[in-house]
Amino acid sequence: MTNAITAEQVRHIGRLARIELTDDQADAFGRQLADIVGYFDKLKELDTDGVEPMVHALEVTNVLAADVAEASLDAAAALANAPDRDGDYFKVPKVIGDS
């Protein structure tokens, strides 16, 4: 199976997954990912024409709760693990440029 995943592809996947990769990691992960994806290709041996995808273990339909307001997590508890906060807000670095 020739399923080479290039270092550039790995970096692209890393960007999509929001995981920064060093060059060494991109190389190592690239080899491992190629091996594993090559293994996934085994499924191509199977004819699945006309088979309905199985998205869930049990065929359950939507479960709807009654439209009744209930107490939920209060702001203090929700913010208790925040790496940085400003009052009742999660704080992040500036996202929009100065200009």
């Binding site: 085994k42 499924l43 088979v51 049990l58 693990n81």
Partner: protein, 500 residues
């Protein structure tokens, strides 16, 4: 050994209820066992000694005053550290959540506590439950009490090692592809993976949401029945939990299922299976035959295990499972963004994307990164149909095989893992060989079925061997009764490693 540690959870519950033993004495006995073995095994991420002592004192006071103490009144248990507790930390064995304090307690853990159980501590796991050896925990690797040079299996390795070494009277694990059953087999304990939807997943840190299920890990089948009865049931806050009555698993436990038909999936008895495990399973089949069970040959063609000329194993089910699990993982773990909770990078960042990318690069270990990236790949445009959608179709074929097999039998009997516990470090270099440790367990999760791992003996090298019973959805009562039948007929139960 302390007499208390010889008791099962059920016996300890009865001893506390009758006043023969106090909960405080039980907590002290288990804390002493943890003190004796924790350094060698690394089974726990945290021990709540003070909290446990206070709760035990309360149970003892309640009992003395004649107040009810619950069906697990005063029994010290442990829970895997991917289940949220409103006390202590919920680390998932990850640097990402090293200091995470969950705002609420998982439903399954809360059910234990409402039944009077005492949560003695939280157990180690592969990071985010992604692994089969408990070596990928960011804290430390857990060791097998039968041989500390070997792994306890995973990802619920801390729970398995803790129960095997009698550091707790029982534990909860979680199972996405075998993470309760395989460590149970490696450590010589009982592990039940319930039907998908039987136990609430609320507060279980999500890995593969269509596969994950919490279940008990115990010294014998009766304890598994006891704990399963407590944690099972509908939870309005988990829309995938099933609203169906929970049978009293203990009540009928000693009544063997009438006319029991045992199916042997022929694809599981190939050259991939270690000879000593094959021999142990053959003996178990004989035990059932002598007990009057009918043994039939069945087929699970899409769970077939192929062995290449060079010995490499492959299986449609393993490929299908890892595509589904990794795709779900990549989506589930997107929540770790360094903003709401969890690790945030200390590096200077130019924008929000760098904040995410640096935080995640620092917070996740290699195996978690591999799985997130593979899941990102299989869900990405251009590959979605070739991998993810294809895997969902194969998933239906795998589930269909089970449905057909259960036309001819009540339960399937098969191995849990292809080998006994492997050596620490043996499989860490090659992720694919590690994935194949799950070859006999993953199909069960894909089909959403219950699976029970129970000890089937000890190998000539002195390592436990497990066997697995698989049944149709919501047949936990049948599995437990069939397991209990084997325990009684074979005498193989409550295995004990030399260290305890």
């Amino acid at each position: 050994m302390n007499d208390i540690l010889n008791l099962s959870a059920l016996e300890l519950r009865d001893a506390i209820a009758s006043g023969a033993v106090t909960s405080s004495a039980a907590v002290e006995a288990y804390l002493a066992a943890i003190a004796a073995h924790e350094q060698a095994l690394g089974a726990f991420t945290q021990v709540f000694a003070d909290r446990a002592r206070e709760q035990a004192a309360r149970v003892d006071a309640d009992r003395a005053a004649g107040r009810p103490v619950g069906v697990l009144g005063g029994v010290p248990l442990a829970v895997k550290d991917n289940m949220c507790t409103a006390y202590g930390r919920t680390t998932c064995g990850s640097k990402m959540l090293a200091n995470f304090h969950a705002p609420y307690t998982a439903t399954a853990v809360g059910r234990l506590e409402r039944a009077g159980a005492i949560v003695l501590g939280k157990t180690n796991l592969d990071e985010f439950a992604m692994g089969s050896s408990t070596e990928s925990s960011a804290l430390a690797a857990t060791r097998n009490p039968w041989d500390t040079h070997r792994v306890p299996g995973g990802s619920s390795g801390g729970s398995a090692a803790g129960v095997a070494a009698r550091m707790c009277a029982g534990a909860l694990g979680s199972d996405t592809g075998g993470s309760i059953r395989q460590p149970a087999a490696f450590c010589g304990v009982v592990g039940l993976k319930p039907t998908y939807g039987r136990v609430s997943r609320l507060g279980l840190v999500a890995y593969g949401s269509s596969l994950d299920q919490i279940g008990p890990m115990t010294v014998d089948v009766s304890d598994a029945a006891l704990l399963a009865g407590v944690i099972s049931g509908h939870d309005p806050k988990d829309s995938t939990s099933i609203n169906a009555p929970v049978p009293d698993y203990l009540a009928g436990l000693d009544t063997p299922p009438p006319g029991l038909r045992i199916g042997l999936p022929r694809e599981f008895y190939s050259q991939a299976l270690d000879g000593e495990i094959h021999a142990a399973i053959d003996q178990a089949v004989e035990v059932y035959r002598r007990a009057g069970a009918k043994v039939v040959d069945v087929s699970l063609p899409h769970s077939r295990i192929d062995v290449a000329a060079d010995g490499a194993l492959s299986s449609y089910a393993v490929a299908c499972y890892y595509i589904v699990a990794m795709s779900e993982a990549s989506s589930n773990l997107a929540r770790y963004d360094g903003v709401h909770y969890g690790h945030r990078t200390g590096r200077r960042v130019e924008d929000i994307i760098e904040l995410y990318s640096f935080s995640r690069a620092e917070g996740f270990g290699d195996e978690v990164k591999r799985r997130i990236m593979l899941g990102t790949y299989t869900l990405s445009s251009g590959y979605y149909d070739a991998y993810y959608n294809k895997a969902l179709k194969v998933r239906r074929l795998i589930a269909g095989d089970f449905a057909r097999a259960f036309g001819d039998c009540d339960v399937l009997l098969c191995p849990v893992a292809p080998t006994t516990a492997f050596r620490v470090g043996e499989k860490t270099a090659d992720p694919l060989t590690m994935y194949l440790a799950d070859i006999y367990t993953i199909s069960v999760n894909l089909a959403g079925l219950p699976g029970l791992a129970i000890p089937a003996g000890v190998s000539p090298a002195g390592l436990p061997i497990g066997m697995q019973l698989i049944g149709p959805a919501f047949s936990e009562d049948v599995l437990l009764r069939a397991g209990r039948l084997y325990e009684k007929a074979s005498g193989v139960t409550r295995l004990r490693p030399k260290m305890v």
